[in-house]
């Protein structure tokens, strides 16, 4: 018999139990212990009401080539990654450049839960309950200078902990970029957790980008650098194969990837005969983001 996510004790109830135990323990021990047990993120009106994929799905089906090209490689290999003492270099056209800790960028009291659809360029999709903060707030905190037009992001390079980086399958470090107005959009977040707990390594710990109206590869993981600049940055997949991956990478059922159709998607967790679902323009976030691209030819700027 196949159990569905709906048959499982809801993660929050499960956590409540753990929280209760943890809270009892915390009464006796240091109050700081409580933190890791639940992030207590605020719900957000920007969340979808679609049912999220299970924690199991989300943490065992990842594209994170730093840990291998197979979907299960990240779950298998990411345990070796050390994420404590993490810092993010904020550089370029900002008023307050410097080295920021994860807590500086995404303080516990600012965390929101954002349940977003995730559409991969490989034509599959999931729903993920991210925990994070709007990128706009972070950028305002570091002070974006008027000449800045783009934001560039960079992933950690550490081949000794990231076995996928020992081969030059991509030009490491992984890099991504957004136009400033895309970066400042309320839907764009820096995520530090999912399902009310800290970000699992294979999902991009300790801090990653999530841009729900773009193909998943734009949502760069394990960020170590945020660079504000005037010109459009290079993004890794476009650099690898410019006719297949663009800078914008907006989910768009009418512009096919050269090697597969983007008209439909397979919903992960739907079972053996779950079929395919029609892909929505901007992954269903068109009402909020279509205006960003007014007047642009999206078959050219794909």
């Amino acid at each position: 018999m196949k159990l569905n996510w709906s048959d499982v004790t809801p993660y929050r109830m499960f956590l409540d139990r753990r929280k209760f135990i943890a809270a009892s323990a915390a009464m006796l021990a240091a109050p700081g212990l409580l933190r890791a047990q639940g992030l207590n993120a605020r719900p957000s009106p920007l969340s979808t009401d679609e049912a999220p994929n299970s924690f199991e799905d989300i943490t065992n089906y990842n594209n994170f080539y730093e840990f291998g090209t197979g979907k299960t490689d990240p779950a298998r290999n990411a345990g070796a990654l050390t994420t404590d003492l993490w810092s993010v270099e904020v550089t370029g056209l900002v008023d307050r450049p410097g080295s920021y800790g994860v807590d500086d960028l995404a303080p516990a009291n600012a965390l929101e839960e954002r349940i977003y659809r995730l559409r991969c360029v490989e034509a599959w999709s999931m729903v993920v309950p991210w925990i994070g903060v709007p990128l706009a707030g972070v950028l305002n905190k570091v002070g974006v200078q008027p000449s800045a037009k783009y934001v560039e992001f960079e992933t950690l390079v550490r081949p000794e902990e990231m076995p996928g980086q020992r081969r030059a399958i991509l030009d490491w470090p992984y890099r991504e970029g957004l136009r400033l107005d895309e970066a400042m959009h309320p839907l764009t977040i820096l995520a530090t957790g999912l399902y009310d707990q800290p970000m699992p390594n294979q999902n991009g710990a300790p801090i990653r980008l999530v841009v729900p109206w773009k193909y998943g590869f734009k949502s760069i993981k394990s960020i170590v650098r945020i660079h504000l600049r005037e010109d459009q940055p290079v993004n890794t997949w476009k650099q690898m194969q410019a006719n297949e991956y663009g800078f914008y990478a907006n989910v768009n059922p009418t512009v096919d990837h050269p090697r597969w159709s983007q008209a439909t998607e397979r919903v992960i967790g739907a079972g053996l005969f779950g079929g395919r679902k029609e892909t929505q323009m901007f992954n269903g976030y068109g009402d909020q983001v279509a205006s960003l691209y007014a007047g642009m030819d999206l078959s050219v700027n794909y």
Binding site: Y61, Y65, K71, P258, R259, A263, R266, L272, G274, R276
Partner: protein, 206 residues
Amino acid sequence: MVRAANDALRRLPVWAVWLAGTIPFALLVWDTVTNNLGVDPVQQIEHRLGQTALYFLVAGLAVTPLMRLTGLSLMRFRRAIGVICFAYALAHVLAWVVMDMALLWGQMGRDIVKRPYLLFGMLGFAILTILAVTSTNLSIRRMGGQAWRRLHKLVYPAAVLVAMHWLWATKVNEVQPILWASAIAILLALRVVVRRPLAYTRPARA
């Protein structure tokens, strides 16, 4: 040594190969019903069926070079190996049609025409179908040995198409498809380089 091995092989019934050919399928069914295929079982099923077909294709291609290089003859089993290859290829295509593409015929048709890796795969499958259909004793008799052998040399382009199908389906250069494409290239090249059984493979008469 080689003679003893060949004697043993002669005693091995062909149905043993048919039986062995069902093992990967049985394992896949087992993994499916025990929910052991991970988060995306559709992709697992599709990929494992396709890869198994490729393994049998390579095994079939290895028979002649093996005989020429070592004197070991698996020739009796080659047709069974080929038909098993086709059975997995058919299951692979069916998994794609039914589970992956959910019978969206229009999208499938457009995809095959437009996308090289699907086109390669489909052409390879079309060739394998022709070879499987003409794999019976009756076909050999009707066509005549020489014409039949010539037709079945189509397995060479099929192998190349299938190798390209896997190589082009991946997003970056992955190790596995490169290794298997190399194996196919080597097995095809060996046919040209080693044209007849090497002398030492023919045991001296007593």
